[in-house]
Symmetry: C3
Subunit: 134 residues, 3 copies
């Protein structure tokens, strides 16, 4: 399970928010080897005074459409695999909701297999065989 938090300024349509969440999950399935049903996402909109982001850090010009995607996921992906995720997510958001590629930031935090329970009071990845992670 990655746990996904998506933050943005308020003002998008429900449809566009759903599409951003869909794209994030699709990019994870395609590049991070995340199972199709392993989807847990929280989308939060913020008032302008509550979401501060620099408009030019690293000489990348951000707009009000800026989207910040945060993932907590089990360790084990290489830098190349992470890079593939950033590129694919960016591509999907450009294609699907017309996001400018400057308007996406991603932040990953890694934990361990023992750090997850998906139900039944169990450390699921320790008790459920890997071929049933779906």
């Amino acid at each position: 399970m990655p746990l996904v938090r998506i933050d943005m300024l308020e003002g998008r349509s429900a449809q566009e928010k759903a599409q951003i969440a869909d794209c994030t999950h699709r990019a994870m399935v395609e590049t991070l080897g995340v199972p199709e049903r392993d989807r847990f996402q929280i989308v939060t909109e913020h008032a302008p005074g509550s979401f501060h982001f620099d408009r030019a850090y690293l000489d990348i010009e951000r707009s009000d459409a800026f989207v910040l995607v945060g993932l907590t996921l089990a360790a084990g992906r290489s830098a190349d695999v992470k890079q593939s995720f950033y590129a694919r997510l960016c591509e999907l958001l450009v294609q699907t909701v017309g996001l400018r590629e400057q308007d996406l930031a991603v932040c990953l935090v890694e934990n361990e297999r023992a750090d997850w329970s998906f139900g039944n009071g169990e450390a699921s990845y320790l008790t459920i065989p890997k071929d049933r992670w779906r």
Copy 2:
């Protein structure tokens, strides 16, 4: 200090939300060795379109009552201790608010002692002797 974030769909009573937070803290005290007064929790309710969770991942059937508990805590607990926490939290929520045991997920993220300040501008766990962590 663990820092606790509890996320769920909107619609619960204030009492039930308080009970869920209470159970989470009690399970942490009982199984993770967290001091009784070491309680810092944020409870957030979400509209359906803002909280996406798969209803069947790992063949566990989740309902609208699904609760996601996230903990940031200092490293050092074994997988067995973590497992005890998941089991006890699940048990308490079933007993106290009638949660289905399929409707609880937990995600842990670990950090270090130096990563916490509890006040006075100090790295508390480096400056306060361990016998006063209460």
Copy 3:
């Protein structure tokens, strides 16, 4: 990039919330070596029933003005540097918004350089030379 989440009870003015965010960024620039334009912050206010914090943990007396600052940042700062950040942030908040020094808690979580993308679908810290991190 550190990603910053600032949580507090509801009721502050917009100005005071902006000042708290400003102080947090200034302390990071001064003590953590964060570039001036590397600013990404989410400020969230909570109803009393949704934000639980112990009023006396570690014998530090907290009030309703309590502010919790969470940072996700790339690993590599020493405990001394972190300590400097806690002290400077506390000092700035006392000076600027009159916060009691007991009313600030901080929680850090570390990740790696490969865990960040700031735009253009790239793992920015792997693709952009360090002298352009500004």
